[in-house]
Amino acid sequence: MDNVNYIIFICIMVPLAMMLMILERKARVIITFMMVGITVCLFISEVNGLLMEVLGADMYYVTTAITPMTEELIKTLPILYYARFFTNDRESLVTASIAVGIGFAVLENMCILVGNAGNVSLLWALVRGFGSGMMHGLCTMFIGLMLATVCKKKKLFISSVFALWATAVVYHAIYNVLVQSDYKNAGFLLPTATFIPLAFIRLRQRRRDRERIRNENSGC
């Protein structure tokens, strides 16, 4: 049998790529970055396999020290490229970065699902979705959000990129350490616990914006 990761990759990518031609601009950007995320995931699976062979390190060390670095690095590159050469608009960058993270998580979860098809359950799906799926989305969202803030100043942009990447890597590594320990429930809750205050702030911000627009309109 051919490599199952490639089979899943083709199954997901072909319809997305075909539909891209008839989508409007905003939706096209989202789907394109989702496809980038899926491709990055496939690429990283090969890179991680290669690194494990080269380093000869134990699985635990690789998953807590090496893979967070490689995964976050390669996930950051397309967002960095987009921020540097296409746009510094906050909404566009955050949307694109979330799409990369979610695309990455989709393929990763699919590959793990197929690899453990006999042992999965609804609980497994919830844990994967709220755990690693959210974690990948949050890590790339943080990078996209902060890149939008710093990319307007060239001096700041260059020096901040490594710091943003380091923050995402450490967060990713904390998750990986927790889910491989006796405290795996805490690991699965970590992304959700990070997400809730962020969502709350965002919803409050949206409500304020709506009120401001309403006040401006009524003032006119």
Partner: protein, 219 residues
């Protein structure tokens, strides 16, 4: 660092970060403030990583750990804030301020001298030394600008003067980080604990100190 030390530092960083986030929305709190808060948050994540790893019983101290990146990240945020945002205002590149630029080199040089015993120690593996080198690079860069903005004469309407307490705190954090690493290499547990606690205290107060500086400047 022990589990307790990491948890205390993590808590201190968390309080500092939450304090910073609560001040984000206030008028006049710009990107400079955000960068420093992110630096504290990054350091907090590093301590959380080491605490979690120790708690899970899988902490290895002989090889490079991802948590070390948080120290590099923290000082890079502080470096970015001073180099990318403040230095253009504080230093006009003229000859009059040249002496301050030269004196400020004392900070990275002192850092390097403090770190040298750890670098020469045979007990530290190669991967740890590479990690240390990356951290030192950013730490030296950040400390250069912190010292420069601490001593430079104020030519930008009081901002440098108001930010002096913050720059002093950031410089202390950098020195304590180096001292803690060097003492840890030579197994000076007691002193390492004291320096670790001092680091937590600085981590706790750095954002409020900067916030006061910004408020003073706005007023």
């Amino acid at each position: 660092m022990s589990l307790a030390q990491n948890l205390i530092s993590c808590l201190a960083g968390f309080i500092g970060m939450v304090f910073g986030f609560m001040h984000f929305s206030r008028k006049g709190y710009g990107l400079y403030f955000k960068m420093v808060v992110l630096g504290v948050g990054c350091q907090m994540l590093g301590h959380l990583f080491f605490a979690v790893q120790t708690l899970c019983g899988n902490g290895r101290t002989d090889v490079f750990q991802v948590g070390m990146l948080s120290i590099a990240g923290c000082f890079l945020y502080l470096f970015s804030a001073n180099y990318g945002l403040m230095d253009g205002l504080a230093d006009d590149r003229g000859k009059g301020l040249r002496k301050y630029r030269l004196i400020a080199l004392a900070a990275p040089l002192t850092m390097f001298v403090c770190y040298l015993p750890a670098a020469l120690s045979e007990s530290r593996g190669l991967s740890l030394k590479i990690g240390d080198a990356v951290i030192m690079l950013f730490l030296m860069g950040a400390s250069y600008y912190n010292l420069k903005h601490l001593i430079i004469s104020d030519v930008c309407g009081g901002f440098v003067k108001c930010m002096r307490p913050y720059n002093l705190s950031a410089l202390m954090l950098a020195f304590l980080s180096v001292a803690e690493t060097t003492l840890g290499t030579y197994g000076c547990g007691g002193l390492q604990f004291v320096f670790g606690m001092l680091m937590s205290a600085v981590l706790l107060m750095i954002v409020p100190v900067m916030s006061r500086g910004v408020e003073k400047w706005i007023m």
